[in-house]
Subunit: 156 residues, 2 copies
DNA sequence: TTAGTTTTCTTGACTGACTCCAGAAAACCT
DNA sequence: AGGTTTTCTGGAGTCAGTCAAGAAAACTAA
């Protein structure tokens, strides 16, 4: 899996623009995060190693933290799963999680703009974000109901 | 801290109605979950031990799982904190979490009934729950901005 | 009310996700 | 190229939570 030079250049620019130094592990991690996917640390590490040859799991954690802090990736933590990372940032979209297999997909909330950011009574809190997680069954798990892969913590 | 007999009776009924056997650890755990509070397992264990004398942490986990499965308590897992338990169930209310100290409070969402349960495109998922977590600063942390107690994972 | 059955509790080992640390290596900036 | 800053490696450690097996307790029915 040789790196696509055009993509590398684009990713290099993204890193620099965010004020981060450009390193091959960082490029590999960024390149391993395809649009519209939500990957856990292990999966990202495996993909990045496929590009680099080797990369410690610790480096992956550090890189993901730096990228998250810099706003290049977003971290989500659905109940019962390890953290997931995605590259779609800056629009506060939401997520659907399958109770059966844990698959996660993006959703745009229907109710106007910045939905739910104005609860009737916020107990004096000053809010800066509304995070919505939808729970349900993905298309695949609707037809094969008992193929439970991940815990699906909230199922009763 | 001797148990209030009236409360015990009420809790006993609640357990029986849910089809659960009545044990003193279960009563102690239920009694340790005050309305409108969100407590973690350690805190619940400490409170329950105050009533019973002793109780293993494992028993607390088991009891909380049984109570959750039976629908007597609700478990929430805000990103970056251990699981929290509350006794307000059956109304799918939402939560505000303080980024600074981790304090959690209930909120009723303002946007109509079952807000956001109809995203514009749910990618074929069949949804059964919309979970909303608001992030911000609690009243106390607005005045003392740097008193960070819990991690507050999502802060940049 | 007591035996028998089922469920629950205790203890202790274990796992997964993640963090912290110190030294080695690499990238940026003249 | 040299110096400084930042990042990466490897290993130990933490925290939340699970698993397993035997002991204890609660329900059920004679």
């Amino acid at each position: 899996m040789t790196p696509d030079p055009e993509q590398s250049l684009e990713l290099t620019t993204r890193l620099r623009d965010a004020g981060l130094r450009v390193t091959s592990p960082r490029l590999a991690v960024l390149a391993s995060l395809p649009d519209r996917h939500h990957l856990d640390v292990e999966t990202i590490a495996r993909a990045a190693r496929g590009r680099l040859g080797s990369l410690s799991i610790q480096a992956v954690y550090d890189i993901l933290r730096a990228l998250t802090d810099a706003g290049l990736v977003r971290r989500i933590e659905p109940a019962g799963s390890p953290a997931l990372y995605e590259t779609r940032v800056g629009d506060n979209h939401h997520h659907v999680v399958c109770r059966s297999c844990g698959t996660t997909a993006d959703v745009d909330c229907a109710v106007g703009h910045r939905p739910c950011l104005t609860p009737s009574d916020s107990s004096g809190f000053v809010l800066d974000e509304a995070e919505v997680t939808f729970w349900g069954l993905c298309p695949a798990c609707q037809s094969t109901p008992s193929t439970r892969i991940s815990p699906g913590r909230n199922a009763s």
